[in-house]
Symmetry: C2
Subunit: 342 residues, 2 copies
């Protein structure tokens, strides 16, 4: 469990990011169908992981919170846009402890609000990049652009596997997926952007990639485990949603690798079929198999091992930073992402 | 009917825009689930109206096709992104003579491809704005940003009216909707961007707004009529789709204004209800009413009148342009948008 100090730092960074978002929210009509939901969605309380990584890295690399707050806000709002579209794609029912946006507003308006969140993110980013001068500003846009392409590729991979019933997947495929769909925009982008802004473009952001990759993978694998074992109240999404949606998680890939042939065949069939075949009864059976075959324990251990590797890579990521004391919160995040309950 | 000369100019502008898009298409994996559909979608043959407005205006205002081709491509690709998301929102079955993307690829992957088209549009725009220098480049991004907000507002209005069964609408509401959801990005944006690039930022783009608004409205009202009266082969969308989707078009607003009370009540009920209640039989009755009450004729006349007003505003839009001969194709477009069969 994270200490109160870390929770306080996360909450403070979350608050300043929300203030920055608020300052840039367009206000106008139609409020009921666009600007209301647009203003409300970022207020659903997340962990603020991405903003914290960006702001703390900027400070560690010699910059100020003020210099990176717009970029941090842009990242958090892009994340919101992804969440809205992702929940539509998965038909997820819950997000951050409330009904997902397409369940509360209907799919058409939720899709539109997701598009608006993406545009708002771009506005925040443009504001940030304008203040950093032409050269560093353009660099920042390149960073975002690259990370967004990786995210769309990862999303396509995950959705494609599901649509076409692909089940011949190994841990390597899963890690490639997680790198693309999660790590780039969740950890690598905020770290790189923070370092670039903090150092005024002089730091080599490549030094942060390995650490970000490991931290992001530990985060995502823990998320997969929590999706099955968490408590809905604190986790904020529906428990077991991944199984229902047929997501290829590390747990399932482990199960397919170790289960006896007849179980494996049944799992494959269940994953390749349409969602309606994944009934409560079948999912209870699947959960039993994941427990029996040690897949949940395997994923937990894998996340822990990945977090340990991230901890070992921390030095390379921040060794050259002039004010490493600001990165302390990031070091603490390594344990937080695997030990968290939400 | 447009003369062969106009069709040739449109085809030529379409071809150079497609080439520009091709040059900037990212290539990589996953091809099957992302980069394949991304590359293919802009090849569905549209009218190329937006690119033509941008390119011809740039030339009329003293610039070259080369200077504005990236911006024209960015506008066409943004249009593609909107089409993909719009078809999901409306659950439209056909687009440009082929199944809509979510019908061929499934909703989740189509939504993701729409997001990728939006990102591709941004890349094209950034490339364009980088070549125009910092000041004009930033101006261009502002133009896009403003037009995109207006489009999202219009989309929210249309979807909101439908979701909440709003039927107390007059022609004024309809025109406000069309200005937001269609005119800004279909006509006003390409005209303004073309003039800004062609004049190297010296022309006043406000001169083009009135013309663009009238041209765009004539275009959209004609589209509403064609949706009901067109031939599917040439129109490219399913005939009667708007009625099925419950869209508040000028035809329906006219009908609600002139029909006897008992018809009006029935139309209101049909519009406020869910899509499944708009059966073939009910829609045939509705179409009869639109014919009987003269709503189709009214909308056709309204489109013609709007096009005439656009023709009258053409002089103000291009009077100050140094090479007005390049705007001749735009003058011809005024008749084309109301006389077209697709």
């Amino acid at each position: 469990m994270p200490g109160p100090a870390l929770e306080e730092v996360l909450a403070r960074y979350r608050a300043s990011t929300l203030e920055e978002i608020d300052r840039h929210l367009p206000r106008g009509e139609p409020k009921r169908w666009l600007y209301g939901p647009l203003a409300d969605y970022p207020r659903r309380v997340g962990k603020g992981l991405r903003a914290t990584l960006c702001l703390a890295t900027c400070c560690a690399y010699g910059g100020t919170e003020e210099e990176s707050i717009a970029a941090a806000a842009a990242i958090e709002v892009a994340h919101c846009a992804f969440l809205v579209h992702d929940d539509i794609q998965d038909d997820s029912a819950w997000r951050r402890g409330r009904p997902s946006l397409h369940r509360s507003e209907g799919l058409p308006l939720a899709l539109n609000t997701g598009d608006a969140l993406a545009l708002l993110s771009l506005e925040l980013l443009r504001g940030s990049s304008a203040r950093l001068g032409q050269r560093l500003g353009a660099r920042l846009l390149d960073e975002f652009s690259g990370a967004l392409w990786r995210t769309l590729e990862g999303q396509a991979l995950e959705l494609g596997w599901r649509r076409d019933g692909v089940t011949d997947l190994g841990p390597h495929d899963y890690l490639e997926l997680v790198l693309a769909k999660t790590c780039w925009y969740t950890t690598i982008l905020p770290l790189r952007v923070g370092a670039l802004i903090g150092s005024w473009g002089t730091a080599d952001p490549a030094a942060l990639v390995r650490f970000g990759l490991l931290l992001g993978a530990a985060f995502q694998i823990t998320d997969d485990v929590l999706n099955l074992t968490g408590a809905q109240g604190s986790y904020g999404k529906e428990i077991g949603g991944d199984l229902r949606e047929g997501k290829r998680t590390l747990l399932l890939i482990h199960l397919l690798a170790v289960a006896p042939a007849h179980v494996r065949d049944e799992v494959r069939e269940l994953l390749a079929g349409p969602r309606r075949e994944r009934t409560d009864e079948r999912l209870a059976w699947l959960t039993d198999q994941l427990l029996e075959q040690g897949s949940i324990g395997f994923a937990r251990d894998f996340a822990r091992g990945t977090a340990d590797a991230a901890a070992a890579a921390f030095g390379d990521a921040f060794g050259a930073a002039p004010r490493p004391e600001h990165a302390q919160v990031i070091r603490e995040l390594v344990d937080y992402v695997v030990d968290r309950a939400r």
